[in-house]
């Protein structure tokens, strides 16, 4: 089972680099050969002279970051990116989603599709596609959304998991809330699952848990790569009978209420974080004796999806990334409600004054497109808010 990663924009290409680094180190240092080879099979293919080449496509509209990532990978001496699996242009998207989605995306459609197709054809069995991008800028968000749309058309049956970086609440890009709204509204319909990391949270992890004094983007990206790796590395499920056959992406992430489900109105507001589904991944020592009963508490979940279906545990006795024991929780719950609501609120306030809208309309996005995106995200917010 192999995953094809598509790294988009500055952030996507930096995070992708760290991810492959974590994964290749982890696989090499793992004491179990089956674990190592399952992992290599997932994320790398071997060239004729035995080198590991990442199953990745690198896309950016300017060359600096891609060049850097390619060089750094090659210098690691452990793995590298394919010589021809990258595409860059000369000029970035200028933080403008519309420039990425309406101009750069369509202009480079064929080349990008060809690169992905080539990478997919190298896989014996395709587990899915994983675009990595930030929602804030222009290339990651705009081109990333466009590319995801193309992938959906080309591979209608394949699993697509988007990994998104949620920007710092301030300081990176002023129009980031617009870019995020436009991205999320589209991806919500295109993607099978959206995995989110928040820069603010990761920054806190760096400062409070890791005690890093002068945090750099590379610190932040390493934490993300570690977390992402711990989700994606091989693990066993109850029905996998000791082989790492489980598709790392192929859990049914998209849980929707049954159509006949009647929603009760006027729910009391509560601070309780209700989950739709949880995936717990345990790695290292004692994973089979670990008590996970609390995660199966029915009160955590909705009334229409019982906890034995809503909760999944994957386990592996192989320690991950040198941690004796580690646990990772992937949580589909109301916890994203607040950050999502914040983004929509800020973007909506800006839109009420029509501030910055001229920057988007000049590339062909209309005010109606904005309204449509707002509407669909309000729907998402409402569904999550009214989970019961």
């Amino acid at each position: 089972m192999s995953v094809v990663t598509v790294q988009l924009g500055q952030c996507g290409n930096q995070v992708g680099l760290e991810l492959f680094d974590v994964i290749s180190n982890d696989a090499r240092e793992a004491q179990r050969r089956t674990y190592g080879s399952a992992c290599y099979d997932r994320f790398f293919h071997q060239t004729t002279n035995g080198e590991l080449e990442a199953r990745a496509v690198l896309i950016d509209m300017e060359p600096k970051v891609i060049n850097h990532s390619m060089t750094k990978a090659a210098k690691s001496g452990k793995w590298r990116y394919g010589e021809k699996s990258h595409f860059s242009q000369k000029q970035g998207s200028g933080n403008n989603w519309a420039n990425g989605f309406c101009v750069h995306g369509p202009r480079n459609k064929e080349v990008v599709e060809e690169l992905v197709r080539r990478e997919v054809e190298r896989c014996e069995r395709l587990a899915g596609l994983m675009p990595i991008m930030s929602v804030a800028g222009g290339t990651g968000s705009g081109v990333g959304t466009y590319v995801t749309q193309c992938l959906r058309d080309t591979f209608p049956k394949s699993f697509i998991l988007n990994h998104l970086m949620w920007p710092y609440s301030t300081g990176e890009v002023i129009v980031q809330n617009y870019n995020s709204v436009l991205t999320l509204a589209k991806l919500y319909r295109l993607s099978d699952a959206i995995l989110v990391h928040e820069n603010n949270t990761i920054h806190r992890i760096c400062s409070q848990l890791l005690n890093i004094k002068h945090i750099t983007f590379s610190d932040v990206n390493r934490v993300i790569a570690h977390q992402l790796g711990s989700v994606l590395q091989p693990a066993l499920t109850q029905d996998s009978y000791g082989t790492y056959s489980r598709n790392p992406l192929g859990i049914d992430w998209q849980v929707r209420p049954p159509s006949n489900f009647e929603r009760t109105r006027g729910l009391p507001t509560h601070n309780f974080n209700r989950s739709l589904a949880n995936l717990l991944i345990l790695r290292g020592k004692d994973v089979y004796s670990a008590e996970t009963g609390n995660f199966e508490e029915p009160a955590l979940y909705t009334s229409w999806l019982p906890s034995n279906e809503a909760f999944n545990a994957w386990k592996s006795t192989v320690p991950f990334d040198k941690y004796e024991k580690s646990a990772t929780l992937v949580n589909n719950s109301q916890s994203l409600l607040l950050p999502l609501d914040n983004i929509v609120e800020k973007a909506w306030n800006m839109f009420a004054s029509r501030a910055y809208v001229h920057q988007y309309t000049k590339y062909g996005i209309t005010e109606e497109d904005f309204l449509e995106s707002f509407t669909s995200l309000e729907q998402v917010i409402s569904s999550y808010r009214h989970l019961c």
Binding site: G92, T170, I174, E345, W348, Q359, T375, E378
Partner: protein, 458 residues
């Protein structure tokens, strides 16, 4: 890699441009010597040393003095004659002469030179126009060139550095020239970085005073006001002031020239800082300015640098943005500054600065790892701020003082192609710009509730 073309028009524009090239070339020579990073010079794909080759610049003046000096000076091999355009008689401090007379006479030649420069570029991203507002050539022909750029290269970003005259300017007609030029700037520029002569003068005087007081010399390697160690021998009166403007440009272009962990492309500047098409004037402030000019002052800490950027003394125009309303603000950092310094300082400064209600988090940052020559770190803040309302209102008053009496108007009306309506249109363009700032400024102390959200049928 992207490239930019600098178009320097008029005496002031060419003097600032000259300082800029001197500093930029020294910066790259220094960085490359240290083997820090070599891919760059993307900004002008040129040459890391001063020997040979041309840089991406077009020099335009309607008299020969300054351009001839450049031609005979140490940078003479850098510019070749195809990049230069001069006349002999000057524009007589008359915007109309520059815009109409010379603008029409030299139109084809200017376009030809711009095209030639553009052909050298493999991906032309930005035009930097440097000019002054008060005289005839910079103001008139400069804004005509701006319009030509819009016509000929509509896709390429246009960032203009405009030096505004002091209130006691020698040129009597400078208010006319400035207001006529402003209409063009409001229509055809993507961003304008206004700089006031008076503020530059104040900064230079203050630095001189500080260094005089402590009895110490201005640091030899400081490139803030001094061209020392570079090309200029024997400082001329405006050199120090021009040097500050050159430093501003050096900063704006740094992320296009060097690497950084948070790249800020030039086209991200208008995208993030210009919420409404005409409100594209960005107030620049540069730090550190003072401590670096003086060896006896202890180097200021990074946090102090952030605070300084918002103090009145560091603004390159005579205004106080802190007391007006911010529409957006960019922080362009160079040198040894990390993302945590950035986050910490934004959090710290945010509560002290009024931002427009719909852009409470209107900050944009860029981190460029290479500091300016002789510094460890530096910061350029670009603020889209309603304080410009006051600056522009004062300019308008000075204009009206002349215009009511129709003083000197005949000099303009003599010029072929200029009609009196040009004056009334220019002043109404300025008035509506001021009104737009005023309207936003009015929201400053009001509590504005969030816009009511779309309601969704559940």
């Amino acid at each position: 890699m992207t490239q930019s073309v600098v178009v320097q028009v008029g005496q002031c524009g060419n003097q600032v441009g000259y300082r800029f090239w001197d500093l930029a070339l020294r910066e790259h020579a220094y960085v490359n010597k240290k083997g820090l990073y070599d891919e760059a010079i993307s900004m002008n794909e040129t040459h890391t040393n001063l020997a040979g080759g041309s840089v991406q610049a077009v020099l335009v003046d309607m008299e020969e003095g300054v351009v001839n000096q450049i031609r005979q000076g140490p940078l003479k091999d850098v510019f070749d004659s195809t990049q230069l355009l001069t006349d002999v008689s000057g524009s007589g401090n008359n915007w109309a002469m520059g815009y109409m007379t010379y603008g029409s006479a030299y139109r084809e030649q200017i376009i030809e030179k711009l095209r030639k420069m553009a052909e050298h570029c493999d991906c032309l991203q930005c035009f930097f126009l440097i000019h002054s507002m008060g005289g005839g050539t910079g103001s008139g022909l400069g804004t005509r060139v701006l319009r030509l750029l819009e016509d000929e290269f509509p896709e390429v970003c246009r960032i203009v550095t405009s030096v505004y005259p002091s209130e006691e300017d020698d040129v009597v007609t400078s208010p006319y020239n400035s207001v006529l030029a402003m209409r063009e700037l409001s229509e055809y520029a993507d961003c304008v970085l206004p700089v006031e002569n008076q503020s530059l003068m104040n900064i230079v005087n203050r630095i001189r005073r500080y260094s005089g007081k402590t009895g110490s010399a201005v640091r030899m390697d400081s490139t803030v006001i001094s061209g020392h160690g570079g090309l200029s021998t024997g400082e001329k009166p405006f050199d120090a002031m021009n040097n500050i403007v050159a430093n501003l440009l050096l900063h704006v272009t740094s992320s296009a020239r060097f690497q950084g962990s948070l790249n800020m492309d030039l086209n991200e500047i208008p995208m993030n800082l210009v919420p409404f098409p005409r409100l594209h004037y960005l107030v620049p402030s540069l730090t550190p300015l003072y401590s670096l000019a003086d060896v006896s002052m202890p180097p200021r800490r990074v946090d102090q640098m952030f605070s300084d950027a918002f103090s009145k003394e560091q603004q390159l125009i005579g205004a106080e943005p802190r007391h007006s309303l911010y529409l957006a603000c960019a922080l362009l950092l160079r040198g040894d500054v990390g993302v945590s310094d950035l986050q910490r300082n934004i959090q710290r400064l945010r509560p002290t600065l009024p931002f427009v209600w719909w852009n409470q988090e209107g900050w944009k940052a860029g981190l460029c790892s290479v500091p300016p020559f002789g510094h460890t770190h530096s910061l350029l803040a670009l603020a889209n701020n309603t304080c410009l309302k006051a600056t522009f209102s004062r300019l308008k008053e000075r204009f009206m003082k002349l215009y009511r009496k129709k003083a000197h108007l005949h000099h303009y009306l003599h010029v072929e192609g200029l009609e009196q309506s040009t004056f009334s249109e220019a002043v109404s363009s300025l008035s509506s710009l001021i009104a737009e700032y005023q309207q936003l400024d009015n929201t400053k102390d009001r509590v504005i509730p969030n816009a009511p959200r779309l309601s969704i049928a559940t």
